[in-house]
Symmetry: none
């Protein structure tokens, strides 16, 4: 009856604020219970909106997950980009990128799992927005490799795409026990070992 009854209906908020609230609640919920066990109603409740409102901003539960992961990726890319500005040497850039990736696995294992299990394995992943972000992210490594080749510290004729995959694959495979089992994960040690492997290989040099 008064013109400001907030009891029955949520005040109209800016779409940005709404989107942010929902994504924030979703991220927390997905991280804590996983995608399958997360319920839209719970997310809506935690975000302080009605279930239907979630669907006004996101097409589906899955689209909401994609948005969460994309946002996480964007922040990661921004962070990497900024830090890379202060590093010139190709080898050091590579070391930083390896370390940064190991570090994100260590700090955000649940989000990594969501990305690996729910996004990257999906049929519609290729050419999706998150795929593009992932490519941008991986391109930092490609760029560092090319830089190194150009400046002569890395060999000519490298299959940079394969090396890029090898670096990320090595880290992620090695992290499996940490991500899915309860194993330990030592960012520093992994970084050092992987860099040694990538730089000089295993063959004995005479």
């Amino acid at each position: 009856m008064k013109d400001q009854t907030t009891t029955t209906r949520n005040r109209r908020l800016s779409p940005e604020k709404r989107t942010h609230d929902i994504m924030s609640a979703a991220r927390d919920h997905f991280v804590s219970v996983g995608f399958a066990d997360a319920s839209v109603s719970e997310i809506a409740a935690n975000a302080g909106v009605a279930e239907g409102t979630v669907y006004r901003f996101f097409e589906s539960k899955r689209a909401l997950l994609v948005a969460v992961i994309a946002s996480w990726f964007e922040a990661l890319i921004k962070d990497v980009s900024e830090n890379l500005d202060g590093i010139q040497d190709p080898t050091e850039r590579l070391r930083f990128l390896v370390w940064r990736h190991a570090r994100i696995i260590e700090t955000d294992p649940a989000l990594c799992r969501l990305f690996f299990d729910q996004i990257r394995s999906a049929e519609d992943y290729v050419n999706s927005p998150v795929h593009a972000l992932n490519r941008d992210y991986a391109d930092f490594v490609v760029a560092a490799l090319k830089d190194g080749v150009r400046s002569g510290v890395f060999q000519r004729g490298l299959n940079v795409a394969l090396i890029r995959d090898a670096i990320f694959g090595a880290l992620e495979h090695h992290a499996t026990g940490y991500l899915y089992g309860g194993a330990k994960f030592n960012t520093a040690k992994v970084t050092q070992g992987l860099l040694a492997l990538v730089l000089t290989g295993i063959a004995h040099k005479d």
Copy 2:
């Protein structure tokens, strides 16, 4: 599909034959529609048995998948073991193992996906029978690396566990596009490139 002589009831068969029939039907079905969309009734029908019979041999739908994957792993291990007998040189052994793994990805992408998405990511994977098989399989690489170190062709003090993870991770990560997208996968090229990386690294040697 049905060449049964008795119309009413299935002849009593040996457990081995029944198990084999069911696993075979299950493997085909899982490979073609995936785990989630596979229905036990369909598998039973394809195996020529009643639904309840599946449960006489396998505790659950998931246990059936595990059995299928385990059987596939065992055959792979047997094959690798036999072929390895004819190869002495550590480097050549490593090359064979890389090639064999790339090859299995190329030939059985669907089974690889089932293993990655349904088994390896599961909570109960660690210390499970399939985990043991996977370890046995990965140990071939570890053994080859140690051999090489012993015989002096590989450097001393290598972190063999990390290198093992790097090899499998590199292959699997590189295969992502092939496994989940529709990308091409070139076993020979991948093998060559990865071996070069692992053996000599990327650093320029003066």
Copy 3:
């Protein structure tokens, strides 16, 4: 059966109306086919709602039965309470209560069976809401007995709890043939006989 105006979707109704519709359909269905053979889908169809809607109002099929029985009990208690207001004499009150119980057995045998077989025998019955209702109902008899003792028409030192149990037990046991077999049940005769027994016993008075 269907007088819906909207073809596609059910109008939003008041929860009371929905609850009532579903309970009504459930009561009819439970009464006609019993609890075990009743299917939720059938009840939903008869109530004119979707299956999931039943679960929005009732936690489970069993919770629905409990609600039906509780509602039936409440109406019975209300009826007894009102009628008792017009009866003062303890003996007459007792006679009425015996008659009323015999009468409910005669009119609602199926609901009695549901209560006896599905509710009262269940592990969670004691201290459940229906248990409380049953206690309220039985307390009418206890109160009448105590009234009679106080006013001197009944003996002092009676074990009222046992007498209460005896009255209900006698009626229900006597009704077994009617409830589970196809025997006749004569409310008037049972009332008269039971009251005579309870009042004066069987011993010969000199």
Copy 4:
């Protein structure tokens, strides 16, 4: 190969022994887990026979329960019959019968529950063998009542059938808390109270 291989197949035992073994195992199993949760395979295993053998001696799981209950009833009837031989006075006979029934509830609550919930409530109970046994058992009470009427200690014109039902009903209803809840049950006290009620009623005698 030898003519006495007992390893593969059970020696042919007398049908009586087999029947007894199976019923014994069944009684134990039914008593401990209830009818619904009892599995034929478990009973067969405990009896030392194959599942199919159970069905050679009993038509169904339910028929097996009926046989168990019937056997229990027969023993009870035999016991009551013998004890009654030493009691002449109708009132004392009645007291014994009330006590004996209370006592069987106290000692065999699980079997009572099986009888009440699984047998007596069943559609096919009326005119079944167990129904006949139950009638024989209840007839002890009827006979005692008639004796008492004849000898003048009980009133003439009693509705003996109703009084019989009242006695059993009172006991069983009073025992509900003991049978289905965790309440106490005092055989002596119940016997005394019920007999007082039945003999002299509740009305104040001037």
